[in-house]
């Protein structure tokens, strides 16, 4: 954490917020990544390749393309990324994140940014709870178990 990384965090956050505003302004939709994924999955399972599936899929494909454009410009690189756990816990983590966000109808983007931005009580409560849940997991992994599995 340096002054530079915090400025990048503010600028990156502003871009994320801008994307949320643009999606609402253009399509009238909430930029909640877990809900977009759930919508794509539902469309694929029903073999229903209509415009609802296509715009959601297009948005999701845009995410790694946006990441690629930042690394291509030399503003970030992948080499500094540090995974916290091995593959078995990565699988468990992914299952919990998928199940939890589907059940709770949102993740960091949908509840944490879009929901909070429109002062939704559900989103404020959900954000406080998932933040607390993440803190519990990190505390257990780092200070009780004391190492990454």
């Amino acid at each position: 954490m340096t002054a530079n990384s915090l400025i990048m965090a503010l600028m990156g956050g502003a871009l994320i917020g801008l994307a949320c505003v643009l999606l609402l302004l253009a399509l009238g939709r909430i930029a909640g990544i877990s809900s977009l994924m759930s919508g794509v999955l539902a469309g694929l399972m029903a073999f229903n390749f209509d415009s609802h599936l296509r715009w959601r899929l297009a948005f999701l494909i845009g995410l790694p393309l946006g990441a690629l454009s930042v690394t291509a410009l030399g503003w970030s690189e992948w080499s500094h990324i540090r995974m916290q756990v091995g593959l078995p816990l990565t699988i468990i983590s992914g299952l919990l994140v998928g199940f939890g966000t589907a059940l709770g109808t949102g993740c960091t983007s949908g509840h944490g940014i879009c929901g909070m931005a429109r002062f939704s009580l559900r989103s404020v409560v959900a954000t406080m709870i998932f933040m607390a849940g993440a803190a519990v997991s990190v505390f257990i992994l780092r200070h009780i178990i004391g190492g990454a599995g």
Binding site: L63, L65, G66, S93, R118
Partner: protein, 138 residues
């Protein structure tokens, strides 16, 4: 046309996640590690996003309809229920383990690393299970 607009907005979103280093699980874990190597980055990202989204949402919603649709599609449920609370808790516990939430995991597919792929496939599995076991039964 709609898909192209969504793609461009997705690129902006993914660029923001990467610029803010949210694609790095260590940043996330460090934010929650108040008793260890605490790092404020996530708070600055959420702060930056809300500085745009709070006035932006207010401004966008002054319109009677979005630019390319007949109406806004906003969640209409308002009550706090058990699913919301349990779901948020399960999500949070999972987020703390791997340090990935849905958006950054998908953006990090561009890294060529194996963990984002394994995480994303597992996450799709988790969504599938929630739909099968809970949501589609209601």
């Amino acid at each position: 046309m709609i898909a192209l607009i969504a793609l461009v907005i997705g690129v902006v979103f993914g660029a923001g996640l990467t610029l803010a280093d949210m694609v790095n699980p260590q940043r996330i874990a460090d934010f929650f590690d108040v008793f260890g190597t605490w790092d404020a980055t996530l708070a600055f990202v959420m702060g930056g996003a809300l500085m745009m989204a709070v006035p932006g949402f207010w401004w966008a919603r002054r319109r009677s309809a979005p630019l390319f649709d007949d109406a806004f599609h906003l969640p209409h449920v308002t009550q706090l229920d058990r699913r919301l609370i349990l779901g948020a808790l399960i999500f949070g516990l999972g987020w703390g383990i791997g340090g990935f939430c849905p958006g950054p995991a998908i953006a990090a597919l561009a890294s060529g690393l194996i963990e984002p792929v394994v995480f994303t496939v597992s996450m799709v599995g988790g969504i599938f299970l929630a739909r099968r076991l809970v949501l589609d039964r209601a």
